[in-house]
């Protein structure tokens, strides 16, 4: 019962994150929304795995936690790397 309530709260927040990602005036807002979305997905999967009574699914939540972090790093890295050309004050010395 409580688990279901938590799951619903998570889904609502995920919807909010999607809204932010769609609205997001800056690129960082979108990255933030993706990150938020990822964390919520981890929690949602953990909670759902208890709702349906299959704790095996926790593995999936675990890999989400990893992938989410990695994709944030990747985005930042490539964005900064790319922005070296756009804003031209970072990393131009190469």
């Amino acid at each position: 019962m409580i688990l279901t309530a938590v799951a619903i709260a998570l889904i609502v927040v995920m919807a909010m994150a999607i809204a932010r990602a769609l609205l997001g005036p800056t690129i960082y807002d979108r990255i933030l929304a993706v990150n938020l979305f990822g964390t919520k997905t981890v929690l949602l999967i953990a909670v759902v795995s208890y709702i349906v009574g299959r704790p095996d699914f926790l593995d999936v939540a675990l890999i989400y936690a990893l992938i989410n972090f990695i994709s944030v790093i990747a985005v930042l890295r490539f964005f900064e790397y790319g922005s070296g050309k756009v804003h031209d004050e970072v990393g131009k010395d190469a």
Partner: protein
């Protein structure tokens, strides 16, 4: 109608993906459309695998009804193969960018006009 909402979403995604592939000129965006199309097919297969009241096809005690493992296997391999072929496509896009200096379809076609 409630019984079919999954399939309806699949159709919607498929159409959106195909529309992007057809209507967008940017090659990268075409690939993203292709990806959406692909995922709609994945969702379709997985939807057919679901048995209501069933559980994931990993044997546990006390469960008799499992979802169908076969479509899941097909999709599992299809996802990995999909990313492999997608990366091949991306590589081609990189080469096209290098050869034509653009990834916009119209610009490329313009350059390809026979003299």
């Amino acid at each position: 109608m409630a019984d079919y909402y999954n399939y309806l979403i699949v159709v919607l995604l498929m159409v959106v993906g195909l529309y992007i592939v057809m209507a967008q000129g940017n090659l990268v965006k075409k690939l993203i459309g292709l990806n959406i199309f692909q995922t709609s097919v994945f969702i379709f297969y997985i939807s057919t695998a679901k048995v209501s009241g069933g559980t994931a096809p990993i044997v546990i005690e006390g469960a008799e009804l499992y979802s169908n493992p076969l479509p899941q296997v097909l999709i599992l391999t299809a996802i990995v193969v999909g990313i492999a072929t997608m990366s091949l496509a991306l590589a081609l896009v990189l080469r096209i960018k290098r050869a034509y200096g653009s990834v916009e379809e119209e610009v490329i076609l313009e350059q390809d006009k026979p003299c």
